[in-house]
């Protein structure tokens, strides 16, 4: 009987020791893992302001934000029509055009294919929006995925109009 109690105590001591050891090891490893996450200097570069006054309708400019290309497109009325007329049932990742471009004339998107991260080409592809040459994804004039392996629409970053000519991204 006394032997049994002793064994239980010993088991408890072992379990407690392993637990404390595991927690200690885990907290020692965490800094070594977390140092690989974006550092303060990377996070600091979080906004970019772009002057878009000279952009003509139908044209796209590409700017760099956090090391990623951002497409800013001034859409023609024809392109806006095409984008807003699409039936949401035809979309792989259904989103209304009005939700993607608060001011329909301006489309601001992260120019990174949602498949494996290549930069799609503007005004190309079967839907006259964007086409990714790497693995053949087609996006429409609202940057929504229509055909190919990409799972999602081109991402819309956080942005705002500082004044009529300037967009602040981030």
């Amino acid at each position: 009987m006394a032997e049994k109690i002793k064994r239980k105590r010993r088991d408890f001591l072992f379990t407690a020791t392993y637990t404390v050891g595991a927690v200690g090891l885990g907290s020692a490893i965490w800094p070594l893992v977390d140092q690989m996450n974006p550092d303060s200097s990377v996070k600091a570069l979080s906004t970019t302001e772009v002057d878009v006054s000279r952009l003509e309708p139908g044209k796209t400019i590409t700017v760099l934000w956090r090391g990623k290309p951002i497409f800013i497109k001034r859409r023609t009325s024809k392109e806006i029509d095409e984008a807003s007329k699409v039936d949401l049932k035809d979309l792989k990742d259904p989103e209304k055009d009005s939700d993607r471009a608060s001011n329909p004339e301006w489309l601001v998107m992260v120019g990174v294919c949602t498949h494996l991260g290549c930069v799609p080409l503007s005004d190309k592809g079967e839907y006259k929006g964007w086409f990714c040459p790497c693995h053949g994804s087609h996006y429409d004039t609202s940057g929504r995925i229509r055909k190919g392996p990409a799972p999602k629409n081109l991402e819309i970053p956080k942005y705002e109009f500082v004044d009529n000519n300037t967009i602040k991204i981030g």
């Binding site: 893992v33 690989m36 550092d39 990174v112 693995h135």
Partner: protein
């Protein structure tokens, strides 16, 4: 091991060996019994060791001149090529050395597939070998990023984005891998650090691979168990050492032909354009040795599915010792497997070809068929074949098929009869 105990000759050597048995180890490596019928396909283990050492030595030297920073990396490669004494030679040996390493490892793997070297009792050798192969791919991929050319940058982008396919945590993992929001300076720095580390891990695994090999000893072309230290085996030194050296010299000839006459033929010209995060090259292709996996990735019309199948195509090989249910090792005695081996070989080459082509039209259809066949070969054909295939009878010993060839014994008798006439004693 069934070897007799080794005792060094001199007193000093005995003193040392009893404290650290390096001399015993050296003696074991020299006298290690190898089957006497090993053919030239068995020389690639030695060749691969040579490749690893070459990569480590040339890499160590290149690291003295390379600068891992997005503003200087591309320049520093050109600096190595133009200014550093013999820099061009060392870099070309290192870059082509990677290709030669993979050429040799593919021959080594296909040799194991043909002669059934992965089967009991060699499963652990096989799995360690696959771990080495996976680390080799990771090392080569990160090394290819270091010159910071267009293919470096976009290759890194595509491969790291594979992890974003993981549900829920995928995006945090890619951000963690990058150390930012895209492939950038932190990514380059950590890839350099890891590219330096991984070859030493590979070296450690190579030691385990050889250690595990020395427990059961080598498989051999007819795949039967061989009694060690019998007239069926020969000591590793000098017999296998000489054969390995001869094969290595032929291999080095091919290696140096690439280095001196076609140093860029295996690379992509776009990697001589500095990385530009705004422009993706029209065609992104990985290095030739990764093309079959790239074809599988693109054959599946879903992002997560493509990634799963690509990784599965490698990990399925780990299960091979249990998927192949046949007790007969060598394909020589398996008439159907022998044909299917070559079909698989052809399918893998075809996948490699398709990986270099754009994923559309007939290329896409063929990659899907080839991917399907690859998995069917391992998951369906091999388990069933082991049960239903009628194998040829196995010989009793290595010498058996040679001596019992029709006519061989008659020849012996004829020679014996001639000698008998000269009265040199009887040996019938």
């Amino acid at each position: 091991m069934s070897e007799e105990k080794y005792i060094p000759k001199s007193k000093l050597a005995q003193w040392f060996d009893s404290r650290l048995p390096l001399l015993t180890l050296s003696h074991h490596l020299q006298s290690y019994p190898t089957p006497k019928n090993l053919n030239y396909w068995w020389t690639f283990g030695g060749i691969l060791t040579f490749c690893l050492i070459t990569q480590i030595v040339t890499g160590l030297v290149l690291a003295m001149h390379y600068v891992a920073h997005v503003d200087h990396a591309f320049e520093s490669i050109e600096h190595i090529m133009r200014n550093v004494n013999y820099g061009w030679l060392i870099r070309y040996v290192h870059a082509n050395g990677a290709s030669m390493f993979f050429l040799a490892v593919y021959i080594h793997i296909f040799r194991a597939l043909f002669y059934g070297s992965y089967k009991s009792p060699r499963e652990v050798i096989w799995i360690i070998g696959l771990l080495i192969y996976i680390l080799m791919m990771a090392t080569a991929f990160m090394g290819y990023v270091l010159p910071w050319g267009q293919m470096s940058f976009w290759g890194a982008t595509v491969i790291t984005n594979l992890f974003s396919a993981i549900p829920f945590i995928g995006d945090s993992i890619t951000t963690w891998l990058w150390g930012g929001y895209s492939v950038d300076n932190p990514t380059l720095n950590r890839f350099y650090s890891l590219h330096y580390l991984l070859p030493f891990l590979i070296f450690g695994l190579v030691v385990l691979h050889i250690w595990a090999l020395h427990i059961p000893g080598n498989n051999n072309p007819i795949g039967i168990d061989v009694k060690k230290n019998s007239n069926e085996t020969m000591p590793f030194h000098p017999y296998m050492v000489m054969k390995d050296i001869f094969a290595l010299l032929l291999f080095i000839t091919v290696f140096l032909w690439f280095v001196f006459f076609a140093p860029n033929v295996l690379g992509h010209p776009d990697n001589y354009i500095e990385a530009n995060p705004l422009v993706t090259p029209a065609h992104i292709v990985p290095e030739w040795y990764l093309l079959p996996f790239y074809a599988i990735l693109r054959a599946i019309p879903s992002k997560l599915g493509g990634v799963i199948f690509m990784f599965a195509s490698i990990f399925i090989l780990m299960l091979l010792p249990w998927l192949d249910t046949s007790k007969v090792r060598s394909a020589i005695f398996r008439p159907i497997y022998k044909k299917l081996f070559w079909v698989l070989f052809f399918v893998v080459i075809l996948l490699g070809y398709l990986g270099a082509k754009p994923p559309e039209g007939i290329y896409l259809i063929l990659s899907r068929l080839a991917t399907a066949y690859y998995f069917i070969h391992f998951l369906v054909i091999l388990p069933l074949l082991g049960r239903y295939e009628k194998t040829d009878p196995l010989p009793q010993s290595i010498s058996d098929p040679v001596l019992n060839k029709p006519g061989v014994l008659d020849k012996f008798k004829k020679v014996a009869a001639e000698y008998e006439g000269e009265n040199v004693g009887s040996f019938k």
